[in-house]
Amino acid sequence: MYKIVTKRELVPHINLFEFEAKEVAEKAKPGQFVILRIDETGERIPLTIAGADVGKGTITVVCHEVGKTTKKLGALRAGDSILDLAGPLGKPAKIENFGTVLCVGGGVMIAPLYYQAKALHEAGNKIIGVIGARTANQLIYEEEMRQVCDELYVATDDGTKGYKGLDFLKDLLKERKIDRAIVLGSIITMKLVSEFTRPHGIPTIVNLVPIMVDGMGMCGACRVTVGGKTMFACVNGPDFDGHQVDFEELMARLKMYTAQEKLAFVFYEKGERSS
């Protein structure tokens, strides 16, 4: 059992959890993920690690309520426990002094982006941060990001805060010398930013979270085409060269269980209301 030490609603439907997992905390590095399972009938889901506190023996994840499992998780409180938590999985992100690093994060993935940006900042990089959300009241981690970024830009899909959309990046990329870009967000965000950086030849790393089951290289559910080769995001990644990833395929594969996910959600909501 893995105890929830802290649970905080950051914005509606996005929750931060600190799980008691001493050994995982000791080994966790930015870019890695954990697989968790809430209860005996639960599914295994990957969540990117957003922080680790060795002293407290906890790891942090931030999770958006989008389906049955994330909703179930969102209904738990501090003091509750989940059945399983395995990690740290995947290869850690490369952290060294690259010079100037553009760190782009969207939605819930801003939290693990912060974990990487902080490490890159401490490694001596100049950090240009870009964080975005669908709308102003869905934006998370702005304060945290401000602390580790030399410059921070905010964007929303609907323009309710900061820039409207990410098109402003095109100009930014023309004006500035950027040595590396890392992108954590939706497939659309990662694809878009990778397209923006491509003409400038900026190495661009995307952190992929496809559908996974074991997360340990056994099932191949997370396979993704990178540079024409099949890779497993769980063991060969989750970081890949954004200029080489087949995002269309990844997008299709992420939608593989949409119908079943809806069904599970409907059943869950019904059960919740009747109980």
Binding site: E23, V24, K27, R37, T41, G42, E43, R44, K68, T69, L83, D84, L85, A86, G87, P88, L89, V213, D214, M216, G217, M218, C219, G220, A221, R223, V224, T225, T230, V235, E248, E249, A252, R253, K255, M256, Y257, Q260, E261, L263, A264, F267, Y268
Partner: protein
Amino acid sequence: MSKPKPKIRKEAVPMPKQNPKERVHNFNEVALGYTVEQAVAEAERCLQCPAPSPCVKGCPVEIDIPAFIKLIKERKFKEAIKKIREKNNLPAVTGRVCPQEQQCQANCTMAKIGDPISIGRLERFVADWEREHGYDTPPKPKPTGKRVAIVGAGPAGLTAAADLVRLGHEVVVFEALHKPGGVLVYGIPEFRLPKKIVEAEADYIKKLGVKIKTNAMVGKLYTIKELLERFDAVFVGTGAGLPRFMRIPGENLCGIYSANEFLIRVNLMKAYAFPEYDTPIYIGEKVAVIGGGNVAMDAARCALRLGAKEVRIVYRRSRKEMPARAEEIENAEEEGVIFEFLTNPKRFIGNERGWVKAMECVRMRLGEPDASGRRRPIPIEGSEFTMDVDTVIIAIGGTPNPIIPQTTEGLEVTRHGTIVTDENGKTSIEGVYAGGDIVTGAATVISAMGAGKRAARAIHKYLMEKRNSGKS
């Protein structure tokens, strides 16, 4: 005056099975097991060949087979299971999934005049009898003060763990998944090996004193080197759990599974009980399973039970070369699985949403035998045709898990990624042993158990020598 010899029954007592028409709609166990009377009748057929008995020679874990069969004949079931457990700590599992026809039963003297003794069915019978009547755990041995870490709670690891704990060592098993059992829980379907049986066997091993730590992926959470700081020896039994793909166009389309993913969802995550269980599975109307081994049979039979209308096994060689057990091929056929022999896919064709809709195949013919001794399949030019499918399961084998070799400096591996050991499982690092599929490549449950057993013996010897030489 000699008594007239009783006539020996030549035919084996058949084991009742669920009717194919019914069982194809459920995940309950297919083979129902012997009753007491059936078991005793089958045991009475045993000729009790004197040692060295041919059957024992065929057993990778050296069970005293004539002795336990004699005890069944005498209706001493408790003593019979005790006899098996002297050598085998997973009898309810091996009684179900061992390829007995190639091992103990292949050598049976009775096979010369009729059916061999159904050794597997008898083993299963007493193991099930024990589970129903309560386990007797052997007395705890005197502690040696030595600690052993086992990496992977599959057949090799659990066997090594049980043997070592019985010798007085402290044993901790590290398992990456959330349940112990390895391939027994994620690979072999419920209808062939009910998961409550695996759980009971693992509980028995825990009762012996073995600690099992789940969610602990060695190589990520701790390295082998770190384990060596806390333990006197390490056994690596991480298996061949990585799926092999065909590397042909379209393989990443939606609806195409590795057998591993398909079976993990169905078996470990119980996707057949969706949405009561949260893990979903997609099953179409026309399913093609690529491959001819036991895993392919398992996947095909799961697909039928999940509601597929047509399930085809697509195999590039002919029936004769199929590596699956004859019993499993028969079961699949009875249930309505269609076999497409001498056929191989060339590419997968997708629809506009990225889902597989068809498979281009080519017919094959058999050429000269290859390294495996089986005749090599050769494509027949111009024989290409298209098969409509909406789900594909690729069951062409697994490769060794690379995490331990990647994270363990100085561990010698072959170019296939298997760990190099001597015949007792000793690796290139002192105190580190390995066995099972991670050493041999994908093989059987019982051969992995045999390797776990040999390694446990070697580890024990190593630890005792180390203690006696006062090195620790």
